[in-house]
């Protein structure tokens, strides 16, 4: 049983956990922004008529979705030096998370744009709008509303996925737990504490998703 559970050790290691938590938060934030950029570019390519841009975007999205993040992470971690890019683990991790989540975000944005009824597009064409006006004034503002909740869902996934970076020894939250587990042979203290921190982030983002749904009026929009 856990009768030796040592809260004192947890308190002692609290600065390490705090540091890990902060690292997890900002590296997830950067990766999410990176993933948004990747996602928007992929989605724009995927919505083109010609196959020249569409085919590579589709192939990329399928390849990412059909392989595990951990294998992608190792691919970059062991592969980039081979191409002459010797990057810090942290940068490799952020790159892997951005490239991975980007593929999912591309599909989220595409679903959002395709969810706009065709009548809207036809109406704006009839009003003599150019393609850019149509996108900027009619389609994207509506698509934006639909995509916010699933984007927050992807943010939750990304934060949890960032735990895998501990396996290439990035000093984030999970790594802090591993250190306590291996330094003091206290796996219970280490892993239960980081689980609590992850739950904190999870419930925070989940609350944000619910709130955003309420603000945007998309909560329970199931007709």
């Amino acid at each position: 049983m856990l009768e030796n559970f040592s809260f004192r050790t947890i308190v002692e290691y609290l600065p390490l956990f705090a540091q890990g938590l902060v690292t997890t938060v900002w590296l997830s934030a950067i990766s999410f922004v990176g993933a948004l950029v990747v996602g928007i570019v992929l989605c724009a390519m995927n919505l083109q008529r010609g196959w020249l841009f569409r085919a590579p975007a589709k192939a990329y999205i399928d390849a990412v979705r059909a392989t595990p993040l951990l294998a992608q992470l190792y691919f970059l971690y062991f592969g980039l030096p081979r191409l002459g890019f010797v990057l810090p683990e942290l940068v490799v991790g952020i790159l892997a998370l951005s490239l991975n989540s980007g593929a999912y975000i591309a599909e989220i944005i595409r679903a959002g744009i395709l969810s706009i009824p065709r009548g809207q597009v036809e109406a704006s064409v009839a009003s003599g709008m150019t393609y850019t006006q149509r996108m900027r004034l009619v389609v994207l503002p509506q698509a934006f509303k639909v995509t916010i909740p699933p984007l927050l869902g992807q943010a939750i996934v990304l934060v949890k996925d960032s735990a895998l970076l501990s396996l290439i020894s990035v000093a984030e939250l999970t790594r802090a737990g591993q250190l306590l587990a291996s330094d003091r042979f206290m796996p219970a203290e280490g892993f239960l504490t980081i689980a609590a921190f992850y739950l904190l982030l999870y419930y925070g983002l989940k609350a944000l998703a619910v709130l955003s749904g309420r603000w945007l009026g998309t909560a329970g929009a199931r007709a």
Partner: protein, 224 residues
């Protein structure tokens, strides 16, 4: 140099096959157990008992809110403190089954909730028992909603199985990690690992897409 690496890689194909086998066996067992458990939990979650439903909901939230890697570490390193000694394989099965059950529970619950209440009332009025109601009226209709995301979830779980390599199970990802220590060509080695997963996952992704389209078409008919 490249040629030598190819030869060396070709030499490790028995290891690669074993890794792929491990990934498939692990996924199959956990998905089968997780589906059974997930359906059970999903039915209980939507059943009348609010306490039970709340407890299941809270557990699902705990599992959805923590990284799978942390769950594996918890099971592998902490259960022994309660006197339950586990080998890596059993720990992997437990962790993956639990994860599968939690996600599938929510999918099944959503499917059951989508069945109009009138159907249940009609079944009640026809004098069907609880089991008959679930088995003959609610579940067959819920399955149409459940099936596409269920297959999609299978893909996610097969990919999540790669995380068990962290506790030393020799699955496909771990094999890549072992081979790359000898053959220092990470691009080639993990490209091949990726191909292995792609072969398993891509057909399922295609299946999920087809189910979704068929579902969407069926839905359209009803709405029109």
């Amino acid at each position: 140099m490249i040629w030598q690496q190819f030869l060396s890689l070709a030499g490790s194909y028995p290891l690669a096959l074993r890794g792929l086998g491990m990934t498939i066996v692990l996924s199959l067992i956990s998905l089968a157990l997780g589906t059974l458990l997930g359906f059970g939990l999903g039915i209980l979650r939507t059943g009348g008992n609010r306490l039970l439903s709340g407890v299941i909901g809270a557990w699902v939230d705990l599992i959805r809110g923590t990284p799978f890697l942390v769950q594996i570490f918890l099971i592998f390193f902490i259960l022994p403190e309660f006197g339950i000694e586990l080998d890596a394989f059993t720990a992997g099965i437990i962790a993956l089954t639990n994860l599968a059950a939690c996600f599938i529970c929510e999918i099944v619950a959503a499917g059951i909730r989508s069945v109009p209440i009138g159907q249940v009332e009609a079944a009640l009025a026809s004098g069907l028992s609880r089991w008959q109601r679930m088995h003959q009226v609610v579940l067959p209709q819920a399955m149409r909603i459940v099936l596409p995301p269920l297959v999609g979830q299978y893909v996610l779980l097969i990919k999540d199985s790669s995380v068990v390599s962290a506790i030393g199970l020799t699955d496909l990802t771990r094999v890549g990690w072992l081979v790359v220590q000898r053959v220092p060509n990470g691009l080639l080695v993990f490209f091949l690992v990726g191909v292995g997963y792609f072969i398993v996952c891509y057909p399922l992704i295609m299946l999920a897409r087809r189910l979704e389209r068929r579902m969407g078409a069926a839905h359209g008919e009803v709405q029109l």
